[in-house]
Each structure stands twice: as structure tokens, then as C-alpha cells.
């Protein structure tokens, strides 16, 4: 926004020279040309201007003028016009391009025209809402407080809530609060709902996967309640650059949405560097610590007096990098710290102070988790250092976008870790720079999620028989809910008949709301955190070492019934890694395909066909892949103790924990016997190769799906034997069994990638469609890796696998890709 130029420390033209010096220094270190794998320059971009819309209220125009805004960027004007025309819009813009004006201008304008108008702003985090509150307060003060603007979240004091419900023209909240605090009590919010016109959804791209699927249902409930008060809602959304903003918005809102993608904000010239830490041990594929290297790169920028933001992927690494950088940049005696940390756990006041310090230039460096990736206004900095690949292309651009003043020059450096995704990215820069960012998927009709929200909806208003809730027949589901004791049909309507408050038992964020509480019993018992059910058994099983805030805790006792883990502070030199056994059983095949394809493509949908013999020549190498419903059973059976830094295995333990069962969806590939037998490897090597292949497949799949690695699970299991034997014990293949002398041979194994959420979250079908891309990129990942026998960056650590696992994985892939050729041409990324 132009106004922000005035309050910011002046950026000097000298930054061009200083950025160049840093780049030279980095290049000088790269004697073998292996470290800087990409250096891309992006030229400056001019602003595209447009006039303030003619309909802008005179007072609002004057207010913006007083803030230094007399004209708009083209996308801001386009958004304001589209909203004025009554359309739902999604504005797709990078960080710091003035997106808040896109919604504040039309909303505040509407309030000035009619003081009854109400708007609800939804932000994915409380911090973002606070940030926007400050901006709106400023606007309101200049307008002599003509409207009420408040945040309403868990921190809102009880005494203030009533006033907010009555007086808030604009209420800033988050989806969770809407879900548990507003919708179930909508009768207290009649003032808002009877006049509600706009709903702003900021950072739309964060609503993907499970969270997005929940939100879509919360919005169904919101529209339903609004309709009860006679209101149809108009949505104004903003999103970072993703491949399918329109599709995502359309699925979330279930309405027509106009997509505005042309960005009219200016940008200075910028350099993006990919930095791969130097190799220390080529054979084992071990590189120098990317944390230390990130610190070194950041230090280079700071030494040249360039204001720098460092992004780390975990809280632990944030603290670590902060320590390094503060030691290297001691503040003057009595002076304030020049390098600060920023993450979720910090108190709001402290965060505001850091944001201000950054805008005013007093703070020279900040180390942050993803907390600063979203639209919090810290101004624009000179340099961004990304310690590790953030996981998605979209997120990488968002973080890199934090560096980029409107004049001068800026620089972003991605320092790769040795994780497969990181290595794939830095070794294939064209993939990153040449591709659109990822797609965001949601599955609002996931039955588990939908039914939970249908319960909440029934609590809010009785359900009418003609109502639609997603794609599911509401009447049938209501009848089921009545049978289970939740609903009762009175006349035509279904009423809630349970004492429990349904929204309380449904969490929008985690897989299950059945969380474990972590209690520190070192001194006075104190709750230090919460952990969702699925992660709990991996992270806080008995005798686990749990890391929290850079402190190690030993899990003394896990109370499974009470959902509590009791921990004590310890200081030890190892961490633990849970051993989880997972079995997958196919329940229902949605579609399957055999490669190479025969004349008539084999798309089967009947479960019984699963066991039919292949119709083609059985001796030709081939594979089948499919997607459908599966049953996943898993159990944590033990753990390994692993030494810090050296990663040596220093011990193990057995555990007896309950087994978990989940119905979900999966994509899988069946390696047929002929293919496996054509491999010139021992059984053990072959099996190791399969595990390595699955490891790499998972990495690439998360890349294609724009999902978290925790959203996907993997397993290898025998393809079910003859029909009728489905109920026989289906032992999964374990890595331990596959390596060494006891290797048990698999006849025709299935390699599964399943959605780690009950009911599935919609990943399997896209994987089925792009499987050729998936296989091809997996081959590129493994083949492109410089290690000899496997490393964490490709097929997994060498020590865990039999020798030649990497070779075997590649050989399998070669055959699979050869099978695929001649079929449909590579689908690219058009998922």
C-alpha cells in the first residue's frame, strides 16, 4: 500500500550494491559449483494504477487520501468493483500487495452508506485478526469512530462479549470460534445475523485438506443460519498464489466466485537463490547442517546491514537459529536486541512490539516459524532466508515474498535440508521456477466430517426435509442420526436430542478432537501442551523423549483412558522414534488400471475383479494401480533410541499400545510377479528397493498434492490372495523383515499411499490420475541423488536398507515407467 511507504524506514538505493556483495560472497564459497544450484533474477515491476471507484463515500475517500492513498492498484479497484456488483470474489495476490484494501474499502463503504450493515471477517489465526484490527481501528479513528470493529475469539473477555454482539459492525474472528462460539449461539447474535452482508475469508489457501473440508461445512452452517435471518451472504476472499484458487473458493463457498489474479502492486528487482549445503560425506549423502548454513547465510546479509527474515520449519529450529544469530550480533550494552524471534508461543504484546520494530527498522533480523508467512504487516525486508523447503511451492513464494521492497533490490535464499523434497527442489530448480504452485484440495463431503457438521447444524436449527447439505441425502443421514439417538423427528423437522454440545466435540484443525494433554510433573503438575490422538502414540508413548520448547521430557506414564501423558524434564543425548506397524486392506476399488494398457482400457470398478488374473500376457512386465476405500490398522509396537547429531541407534524398547483402526481412501500400485522376477537382485535387495521406492513416492506425492507429509501414510502389503480368503490374516511387510537373512518374499505386493484421515480427504483420486507424473518424478528424485546407496534425501537412510536398495528402487521404477510409456502421454501437473 502506498501509505505504508511513509512510515517505513527509507530504503536506500545502496541496497542494490549490498545485495550484490552478499551474492558475490556466497558464490565465492561455492568453488565446485555445487552449492548455489540456482540464481534467478526477477526484474522490477511497475505499479498498475487505477482510480478510486467513483462510488467511494466522500468521507472514506478523504480518509484514504489522508493516509496517502489517492489511487488504487489495478487489482484493488477490480476487487472493489466486483464486490460492488454483488459478486463473490477471490483476490489472488502475493504478500504485501495491499490485499486488505480489497475488502476493507467495499465493506467500510457499505457501512458508511447504511449503518445497519454488518460484516464477519474470518482469519485462520488470532494473530492475523489482531493485525487487521489495528488497521481497521486506524481507519475508524480517522472516520471519527463511525462503526464498531472488534475481535471475537477465545481471548475476548466475557464482559466485552455482549457489547461486541450488539455493536460490532465488523467482527473479526476465526473459523474455530465461528464453529463453537457463534453459530451454536446465533440467537444472541441476532443483531449481526439480521444485517450480515459480507463475509471476508482471508488467506484462503490455508483452508485445504482437513481444515478446508471442515471450513466448507462451517460455511454451509453459516449460510444456513444467515438464511434463517433472511440473509444471503456475499464472500470476499484473498489467497496466496496457488494453482486453483477459483476451484478452491468454489468448493469452499459452493457458489460462483470471480477470480482476480492480475496483481497491480509494484515490486523491486529481486534475486532468488537455491543453496544446497556442501557435501561432507559423499558416500552416505551427508551434507553440512542446513541450520548452520542458514545461520551463516543470514549472518552474511546482516553483516551488510540488510534487514533479514529467517524462516525455520519448527519451533525448535527457530530457537536454535535465534541463538546463533543473537550470539553473532550482540546488542549494544543497555540497548535493545537487534535480532528477535517470532512464533506462536509469544505473547500478543511482544509480537506487536516486534512487528513495529521491524516496520521501523529498529529490529534488523527476525527468526520466525510460518507465523510470519501469512499476511501480518511487518513491512518489507531486504532479505529472506528459508531454512529448509517449506513444503510447498506456494508457501515458498509467500516466505520469499517477505523480502522485497518497492525500490532497491532484495534477495531470498532457500537453504535445502537433506529431506527428499528439499533435495529434489534444489537439484531441479526449473521444477520450482517453471511450475505453478500446488493445487489445494478439500473434500467437504467426506462423510465423517459432514456428519459431524450435520449434527452441529441440527443443534443450530432443526433440519428441514428439503435441505441440502453437500452432496449427501440429508434425510437418510438424519434417519441414521435419529437411530443413533442424536436427532428426533417432530413433524417434518429433525431436532437435536442430546445433552452434549456437538460443536465441542468437533475440532476443525486436527484429525481427531480426541486430544492427549501433556502434563509436566517435574514440579507442580502443569499442562504444557496438547497433542492430537494420531500423533500421540508416536510422540508420547511410554518412555518416549518428547521435545517441547527446546526442552526434553521423558514420558513417565501414558494414561490412555484419561488421554493424559505425564512427563518429566530430562537432559539426555538421544531422542526416540516410534516403530509403527501398519496394515492396509482393500475394501472397495473405485477404479483401477493396468499398464501397459491393453486394446480396451481396463477400468474396473467391481471389487471382485481385483483378483482376476491379468488378461494380458502374464510374462510381460506390468503393474496395476488403483484407488479406493481401505481399512488401515496400525499399532505402535516399540521405539528406537537415537543419538543426537550422530543418529546412532543406541537402544530400543517394546510397547504394548492399543491398535487403531481407520477407514480411509488410498492409491496403490501392485508390482506384478513378472516385473519383480525380472529384477537382477536378491530377495532382500528387492524388498529394500520397494521400501525405498515407497519412501520416495511419498515425498513426491506430498509435493504434487500440496499436503503435509503427515496427511499421507504408507504401507506395503501382499495383494490379497484368491477370492474368499479376504478375511485371512493379512500380515504387512515390515522393513525389519524385508532386510537380511529372514527376508520373506512377497508374491505380488501392493505399495499404498493412504489419506491419514478417517474417510479420506480426497488425495487418492488425484494420485490415480497423475500417477505417471508421480512415477517419473520419483525416478528423477532418486536418479538425481548423488549418494551411493541411498540417503535420507532419496530412498531413506542407507543404514536402514539392504545394500543396493537404491539401485533396486531405480530398476523397479525404470520398468514401471517403461510400462507406462505408450499409454497416455505424461499428464504433467494438470491434476
Amino acid at each position: 500500500m502506498p501509505h505504508s511507504l511513509a512510515v517505513r524506514a527509507p530504503s536506500t538505493g545502496q541496497s542494490i550494491a549490498r545485495v550484490a556483495e552478499v551474492l558475490d560472497a556466497l558464490a565465492a564459497r561455492d568453488t565446485r559449483g555445487e552449492i548455489l544450484t540456482a540464481v534467478r533474477h526477477f526484474p522490477a515491476r511497475e505499479a498498475q494504477w487505477a482510480d478510486l471507484p467513483a462510488w467511494t463515500h466522500a468521507d472514506l475517500a478523504a480518509t484514504y487520501a489522508a493516509k496517502g492513498i489517492t489511487r488504487l492498484y489495478s487489482h484493488q479497484a477490480a476487487a472493489a468493483e466486483a464486490v460492488r456488483e454483488g459478486k463473490n470474489v477471490v483476490v489472488v495476490t502475493p504478500t504485501a500487495s495491499g490485499k486488505t484494501l480489497c475488502y476493507n474499502l467495499p465493506v467500510v463503504n457499505a457501512i458508511l452508506e447504511n449503518s445497519d450493515t454488518r460484516a464477519l471477517y474470518l482469519f485462520p489465526t488470532k494473530a492475523l485478526a489482531q493485525d487487521q484490527l489495528a488497521e481497521l481501528h486506524d481507519l475508524n479513528e480517522r472516520l471519527e469512530n463511525r462503526f464498531g470493529v472488534f475481535t471475537y475469539d477465545g481471548d475476548t473477555p466475557g464482559g466485552a462479549r455482549k457489547a461486541i454482539r450488539e455493536l460490532g459492525h465488523i467482527v473479526l474472528t476465526n473459523p474455530d470460534m465461528l464453529h463453537t462460539g457463534i453459530l451454536p449461539h446465533h440467537t444472541r447474535w441476532t443483531r449481526l445475523f439480521e444485517n450480515l452482508r459480507y463475509v471476508v475469508l482471508d488467506e484462503l489457501h490455508t483452508y485445504r485438506g482437513v481444515f478446508g473440508s471442515h471450513l466448507a461445512n462451517v460455511l454451509r452452517r453459516l449460510r444456513r443460519v444467515a438464511r434463517f435471518y433472511g440473509r444471503e451472504l456475499q464472500f470476499i476472499c484473498s489467497s496466496a498464489t496457488i494453482a486453483n484458487p477459483g476451484e478452491l473458493a468454489g468448493r469452499l463457498l459452493e457458489a460462483e466466485v470471480e477470480v482476480l489474479e492480475a496483481n497491480g502492486a509494484p515490486a523491486a528487482e529481486k534475486t532468488f537463490v537455491f543453496y544446497n549445503p556442501p557435501v561432507v560425506n559423499r558416500a552416505l549423502g551427508i551434507r553440512r547442517s542446513y541450520i548452520n548454513e542458514s545461520s551463516r547465510v543470514a549472518q552474511e546479509f546482516l553483516r551488510h546491514d540488510l534487514q533479514t527474515i529467517v524462516f525455520a520449519n519448527s519451533r525448535l529450529h527457530t530457537e536454535l537459529l535465534l541463538t546463533y544469530l543473537q550470539q553473532a550480533n550482540p546488542h549494544a550494552p543497555g540497548g535493545a536486541e537487534k535480532i528477535r524471534g517470532y512464533r506462536g508461543g509469544y505473547l500478543p504484546g511482544e509480537r506487536r512490539e516486534i512487528e513495529r520494530g521491524l516496520r521501523e527498522g529498529r529490529i534488523r533480523g527476525v527468526v520466525s516459524t510460518s507465523a510470519l508467512e501469512l499476511g501480518i504487516d511487518v513491512g518489507s525486508l531486504d532479505a529472506a532466508v528459508l531454512a529448509g523447503y517449506p513444503g510447498t511451492i506456494a508457501s515458498t513464494w509467500q516466505r520469499a515474498g517477505r523480502a522485497g521492497r518497492r525500490s532497491g533490490s532484495s534477495c531470498a535464499v532457500l537453504v535445502a535440508s537433506s529431506a527428499p523434497l528439499d533435495q529434489f527442489m534444489v537439484r531441479n530448480p526449473d521444477y520450482f521456477f517453471g511450475n505453478t504452485p500446488e493445487h489445494a484440495f478439500i473434500q467437504p463431503d467426506n462423510l465423517e466430517i459432514l456428519v459431524n457438521h450435520l449434527k452441529c447444524a441440527a443443534f443450530e436449527l432443526p433440519i428441514r426435509p428439503e435441505e441440502r447439505f453437500g452432496a449427501v441425502d440429508v434425510r437418510e443421514l438424519c434417519a441414521r442420526l435419529a437411530e443413533a439417538g442424536y436427532l428426533h423427528r417432530a413433524g417434518e423437522h429433525w431436532h437435536w436430542t442430546h445433552e452434549a454440545y456437538p460443536a465441542d466435540t468437533v475440532s476443525l484443525r486436527s484429525v481427531s478432537s480426541d486430544n492427549f494433554v501433556i502434563v509436566d510433573i517435574t514440579g507442580q503438575p502443569e499442562v504444557i501442551g496438547e497433542i492430537d490422538f494420531t500423533s500421540a502414540l508416536d510422540m508420547v508413548h511410554p518412555k518416549a523423549i518428547y521435545l517441547h520448547g527446546a526442552q526434553q521430557y521423558h514420558v513417565e506414564h501414558l494414561d490412555f483412558e484419561e488421554r493424559k501423558a505425564y512427563v518429566k524434564k530430562v537432559d539426555c543425548d538421544y531422542y526416540t522414534d516410534a516403530i509403527r506397524y501398519t496394515q492396509v486392506r482393500v475394501l472397495d476399488i473405485a477404479a483401477q488400471q493396468r499398464s501397459p494398457q491393453t486394446a480396451n482400457a481396463v477400468i474396473l470398478s467391481e471389487a471382485k475383479d481385483l483378483n482376476l488374473n491379468p488378461a494380458t500376457n502374464p510374462s510381460a512386465p506390468s503393474y496395476t494401480h488403483a484407488h479406493g476405500d481401505v481399512l488401515v490398522r496400525s499399532q505402535v509396537v516399540g521405539f528406537k533410541k537415537i543419538k543426537f547429531f550422530t543418529n546412532e541407534n543406541v537402544g530400543a524398547g517394546q510397547l504394548e499400545l492399543p491398535e487403531n483402526e481407520m477407514h480411509t481412501t488410498a492409491w496403490w500400485i501392485t508390482l506384478e510377479r513378472a516385473l519383480l522376477e525380472s529384477l537382477p537382485f536378491s530377495i532382500s535387495e528387492r524388498q529394500s528397493g520397494m521400501f525405498g521406492l515407497l519412501h520416495a513416492l511419498e515425498s513426491v506425492a506430498t509435493l504434487l498434492l500440496m499436503c503435509d507429509t503427515r496427511d499421507l501414510g504408507t504401507s506395503i502389503g501382499e495383494r490379497p490372495p484368491a477370492p474368499g480368503a479376504e478375511n485371512a490374516e493379512f500380515a504387512p511387510l515390515r522393513l525389519e523383515d524385508a532386510v537380511g537373512a529372514n527376508a520373506r518374499e512377497f508374491f505380488e505386493p501392493n505399495l499404498y499411499l493412504y489419506d491419514a484421515y478417517p474417510g479420506g480427504i480426497g488425495f487418492s483420486e488425484p494420485l490415480f490420475r497423475v500417477h505417471e507424473t508421480l512415477l517419473r518424478q520419483t525416478r528423477e528424485l532418486i536418479a538425481g541423488c548423488a549418494c551411493e546407496q541411498g540417503c535420507p534425501s532419496c530412498v531413506g537412510p542407507a543404514g536402514d536398507l539392504a545394500p543396493r536398495a537404491k539401485e533396486a528402487a531405480l530398476a523397479i521404477l525404470d520398468r514401471l515407467c517403461r510400462c507406462g510409456e505408450g499409454g497416455a502421454s505424461a499428464a504433467g501437473l494438470a491434476i
Binding site: 451454536p184 449461539h185 446465533h186 440467537t187 444472541r188 441476532t190 434463517f228 462423510l447 465423517e448 456428519v451 459431524n452 449434527k455 441440527a458 443443534f459 443450530e460 436449527l461 432443526p462 437418510e476 443421514l477 441414521r480 442420526l481 437411530e483 443413533a484 439417538g485 442424536y486 428426533h488 417432530a490 413433524g491 423437522h493 431436532h495 437435536w496 436430542t497 442430546h498 445433552e499 452434549a500 454440545y501 456437538p502 465441542d504 514440579g523 507442580q524 475394501l587 472397495d588 471389487a607 476405500d629 477407514h663 478417517p758 474417510g759
Partner: protein
């Protein structure tokens, strides 16, 4: 796989209760009006449809005239106009309406229904109770319409915990109709807070059933709750009934509701009598209740009456356990009314008290420094306070003391030691100069340090 199977494995569809959602026994299908018969209720109807209604007249509790003094205390709020309006409305008992609801849950929110609304008013010297009941949710409009006309006629609501539960819930129900406006109340008097102030000390719990037994002397009134319905089961009884289960438990719920309304009306009489009895003269008054009354009077801005009642409580055999609390109240009140010597005498009695001993030390140190100007004595009390705080902090490792308590003790110790240092300096200085020169008393600041 069919959709049926998909539904079968959803966690969200797991039965609401472990034993299954169906009630154990089902009533005969022809028994459509079983509920009306079980309750002895008639079908009432208006333009929105039908619901059940029944009236029961009780001869006890008898109507008791409200005392102006009691109403004055009960209606006092910070907003003087509101207090006046409420007092005027309360003054006419013909406008009072006792109200208590039975609901499908305690959490509140839009999905909680009031399936039975009980109201009561004084009639012919006794209590007339009317109960409106939903045979099914379709009857809610008709019930609310009826309730609205009843409240319009008697717009002064008297409830027990109704300010935070029953009334907001009913307001929400009215809003949900989008057709029937919630009636406006002239006043709403909730007895939970006065009851808590008066009897929590003695009874621990101030549930209505407890108050009946121990305060209203239920046996004497001939009230029995032998087969009373446990409140926690009420929603489930109604859900069972809706699904074709038995009606008998709901008859129990209706009786429970009647008892609660009678208790509420009687309780109002009792509170009225206690507040009207300005000095706690009533011979049968329980000493702990008198102490509770004194604290309530203090809170409602009647310090003089509070003092009188408190003294009377101590004279009429207040159990020893409550003595320190009462002495502390008296001491604080004495100090506030600038009766410093009385306050000091009371603090001396409290020196050995484990709860307030430290406070007593502090108050006495202040007293002797500022009022009696006996610096040596002030220093003695500061020294005693410091020693006590040290001991308290020393117990920090024991499993009985919390981390906060230890920290608080450390803070107090520091405060006492600072005070002592100052006093000792003055003693030394005084000796040097031969006379003590005292600074003027810093009244406001010291007063704030209490607690």
C-alpha cells in the same frame, strides 16, 4: 460397497449412549395421550397449535408480605434508576411470577429446549403452579405463546439461577420462533446469589433441595423429596419419551418442577424475613447464617447493619472455626470507620491465625507505626510477620503447599523485611536525634496493601 456400509463405520454415527439409543421399554402405540394422562394435564391450544397444561394449587408456602427493607437490599444495583424501577415493580406481589424450567440439556445454546416450563404465583393465600409441557417439539410455538401472555400479566420474574440459565434459554427459544417476541420483564430477581451469600458457609452447597432441607425445614412443612428425580437424568427421560419410551419418569419430572417452584417461593419468604430482621434478632436464626447475612449486608453497602449482625452472630455461639473470619471482617470494618483501637484489638486476637496471622502482623505494624506511633512495637510486629513468612516459605517443599503459595510467602517476607529495615532505621535515627520525627500517615497506600 453400498452407502449403508459407509454409514455403519462412521465414528460420528456411534450411538449416543453406550446401551443404545432406544429406551428399554416402549409404551403401547395406541397410547398417544399417555403423557397427558400421567401428568393429569389438559390439552391447551392457541393459534399456534397445542401443548399440555396443568394447574396445581398448594396451600404452603403461605404468602408473606415483602418487607420494604428486604426489597431495598435485594434490588440495589449500581444503576440507581434501574434499582428504583425494580423496587417499584417488586413492591406489588401480584406481579410476581416464579419460574423454573426443565430442559433437554444444561449447556445452553440454540439446540437446548425447555420441554417443561413451570410458573407460579400467589393466589388465595397459597401458591398456584401452572406447568406447560411439550408433547413434542412441534408444540413449542404454542407453549411459548402461552408463556408470553402469562409473563405479560406478571412481568416480575423470580428465579433460582434463572438469570444465567432459564431466562436466556427462553429468550433464545423465543428468537428461534421468528414469530413470537420474548416478553419484556419489569424486573428479574434471582435468588441464587443471596442464597449463596447467606447459606454457602453453613451448607457448602446451595442447591434448592439442600436449602429446603436445612433452611426451610422441609420436614416441618411436610415436604418430601423421597422419590425425587435426579436432575442429571431429566434430559434423557424426555428423550426416551420422545422415542416412544415410558411416560412415568416425566410425571416425576413434573413433581420435581413443582417442588422446585414451591421451594423457590418459600425461599423468597425466608430471605425476605432474614433481610427484614435488621439486627438478626430472630431467636431461631442460626449463628452461621447470621454471619453469612452480615457478609451479604456488607456487600450490599450496609456496613452498620453488617457489624450489628456479625456481633450478634458471635454472641449467639458462632462455631470457633468461623471466629477468625468474623474477627477479620470486624477489624477491617473498624479500620474503615477509623476506629483504629478496636481494629488493633481485633488484629491482636488474630495473630496466631494460620490464615490471617500475616495480615494481622502487617496491620498491627502499620497501626503502631502510623497511629500509636510506637515504632519499637511496630518493628516487633514486622519481625514477627517476617518470621511467619519465612516459616511459610520453608514449608514450600512440602506436598501441601502450592508453588504460588511459596512465591506469595517469599513476596510477603520481602515486604516485611523492607518494612523492618525502614523501622529499624527510624529507631536508630530516633536514638541519634533523641526524638522520633514521623512522616505523615500515608493512608490510601497502606490501606491498599491489605490481602
Amino acid at each position: 460397497m453400498s452407502h449403508q456400509d459407509k454409514f455403519a463405520r462412521l465414528a460420528a454415527l456411534k450411538p449416543a449412549r453406550a446401551e443404545g439409543a432406544r429406551p428399554a421399554e416402549l409404551r403401547a402405540p395406541q397410547e398417544t395421550d399417555a403423557l397427558a394422562r400421567a401428568l393429569g394435564a389438559a390439552v391447551a391450544s392457541n393459534r399456534y397449535g397445542e401443548h399440555l397444561a396443568l394447574r396445581t394449587w398448594f396451600s404452603s408456602p403461605e404468602f408473606s408480605e415483602p418487607a420494604p427493607a428486604a426489597l431495598e437490599i435485594l434490588s440495589r444495583t449500581r444503576d440507581e434508576t434501574a434499582s428504583r424501577r425494580m423496587r417499584a415493580a417488586l413492591a406489588d406481589p401480584a406481579q410476581w411470577l416464579f419460574l423454573d424450567t426443565e430442559t433437554t440439556g444444561l449447556a445452553g445454546g440454540t439446540g437446548t429446549y425447555a420441554f417443561l416450563v413451570g410458573i407460579g404465583w400467589w393466589d388465595a393465600g397459597g401458591l398456584q403452579v401452572e406447568q406447560l409441557v411439550l408433547r413434542d417439539f412441534t408444540e413449542e410455538y404454542s407453549l411459548l405463546q402461552e408463556l408470553a401472555t402469562r409473563i405479560a400479566k406478571r412481568p416480575v420474574l423470580v428465579t433460582f439461577n434463572g438469570k444465567s440459565f432459564d431466562w436466556p434459554l427462553l429468550q433464545s427459544r423465543f428468537t428461534m420462533t421468528r414469530a413470537i417476541a420474548a416478553p419484556r420483564l419489569a424486573a428479574h430477581l434471582d435468588l441464587l446469589h443471596p442464597a449463596r451469600a447467606l447459606w454457602k458457609l453453613r451448607l457448602g452447597s446451595v442447591r434448592l433441595a439442600e436449602l429446603e432441607r436445612h433452611v426451610l425445614d422441609a420436614p416441618r412443612l411436610g415436604w418430601r423429596r423421597d422419590h425425587d428425580v435426579p436432575s442429571a437424568l431429566i434430559p434423557q427421560f424426555y428423550f426416551d419419551y420422545l422415542r416412544g419410551g415410558p411416560v412415568a419418569p416425566l410425571a416425576g419430572v413434573a413433581r420435581h418442577n413443582q417442588m422446585d417452584l414451591r421451594g423457590l417461593a418459600a425461599l423468597f419468604g425466608k430471605i425476605n424475613a432474614m433481610l427484614a430482621d435488621s439486627a438478626g434478632e430472630a431467636p431461631e436464626a442460626h449463628s452461621v447464617d447470621l454471619f453469612g447475612l452480615s457478609r451479604y449486608l456488607e456487600r450490599r453497602g450496609e456496613p452498620a447493619r453488617a457489624n450489628a449482625v456479625c456481633t450478634r452472630a458471635m454472641e449467639s455461639g458462632l462455631p470457633a472455626a468461623f471466629h477468625p473470619l468474623a474477627q477479620r471482617d470486624l477489624a477491617l470494618r473498624a479500620r474503615r470507620s477509623a476506629d483504629y483501637d478496636t481494629a488493633a484489638a481485633l488484629w491482636e486476637k488474630l495473630l496466631a491465625d494460620p490464615r490471617d496471622g500475616l495480615l494481622a502482623c502487617e496491620q498491627l505494624a502499620i497501626h503502631h507505626e502510623r497511629r500509636s506511633r510506637n515504632i519499637e512495637r511496630a518493628a516487633d510486629f514486622a519481625r514477627l510477620g517476617m518470621r511467619k513468612a519465612q516459616l511459610l516459605r520453608g514449608q514450600g517443599g512440602s506436598p501441601w503447599s502450592s508453588a504460588e503459595a511459596t512465591a506469595r510467602a517469599a513476596r510477603l517476607e520481602e515486604k516485611f523485611s523492607a518494612r523492618l529495615a525502614r523501622l529499624e532505621q527510624r529507631i536508630a535515627g530516633g536514638r541519634r536525634k533523641g526524638s522520633a520525627s514521623l512522616p505523615p500517615a500515608k493512608k490510601g497506600k497502606e490501606a491498599k496493601r491489605v490481602r
